[in-house]
Symmetry: C2
């Protein structure tokens, strides 16, 4: 499964493309940071972000998209821009008919470090190890996007196992009734 | 000038289309509220909003788009959805190459009622009067979108006069130097 992770932001938006299956090491395909100029008009900035994400989705053809969920606890001055960018990011995937899943920062941290309260350095360090990279991805926005993609692949596996178990249980019940 | 105003929201997004020139009564063309289901997936909701706004822009062919600016002072529980919807709304106009202008709620209130702290009832009442309607537009989200469009037409006039004055002044200065 190929997943494109997006760490939404208006000034810097991290994008990470990872391939893998649940419970196995993942493979780095590519990572990017999309920048927009803080002095530019908001319409131009969102348009540039939309175009860049559409280009990267067309280039990498992921099977699904993972986007970080934005919370209002963040920096109040920038949170509105981040939320607008996340709307554009989710829409970019949805418009192509791709499944889009959102994850909270703690879900992502827990998935890659085992702790929902891990710091940025720990997340970057685990992403570097899990993708078997020679050096940490830079800037950190890219590491967060890669962590999102890894989180999606692994949690997708958990979901798939739960669904399979539920189906098996349903089959057993039907079997018992016959 | 034909303006499409958008009062962004995820559950209810108001859209108002108004025609007019600065300093003259405006004419109502149409108004709508785009609804999305709170229980639906965020990706589906943003996709439905995007599609609906694209359809309305294609139908009414406005010369510009006015979108209400979102503030974090709003209800924290819904503000993230509102910001995501505003990102999609701004993008919808920008993608068509239309000028998109954002206005704060106080700018809109001041433009239609003369007071930046006017209540919803007062805004609806002035929109009804300014557009010469028999009854207030319902629901209120539509009235807010119409107020945005009126605000844009009138303030556009102010901007145009200021720019004209500035040009005239520049011409005068150049003239004096010759």
């Amino acid at each position: 499964m190929r997943v494109l992770g997006i760490d939404p932001g208006l000034t810097r938006c991290g994008v990470g493309v990872v391939e893998g299956v649940p419970g196995r090491p993942c493979k780095l395909i590519a990572y990017y940071v999309v920048y927009t100029e803080p002095d530019d008009d908001i319409a131009l900035r969102l348009l540039h972000l939309d175009k860049s994400l559409a280009d990267l989705l067309a280039e990498h053809k992921p099977q699904s998209v993972a986007v970080e969920r934005v919370f209002s606890q963040h920096n109040v001055r920038t949170v509105m821009g981040t939320a607008q960018a996340s709307g554009v990011a989710i829409l970019a995937g949805a418009r192509l008919g791709l499944p889009v899943q959102t994850y909270t920062p703690s879900e992502v941290k827990a998935a890659v470090t085992g702790s929902g309260t891990a710091g940025k350095t720990q997340v970057t360090s685990m992403v570097t190890r899990l993708l078997n990279l020679d050096a940490p991805p830079r800037p950190a926005d890219a590491a967060d996007a890669l962590a999102l993609a890894i989180c999606h692949i692994w949690r997708g596996g958990t979901r798939a196992r739960i669904e399979a178990a539920a189906h098996a249980a349903a089959r057993n019940i039907r079997g018992a009734r016959r």
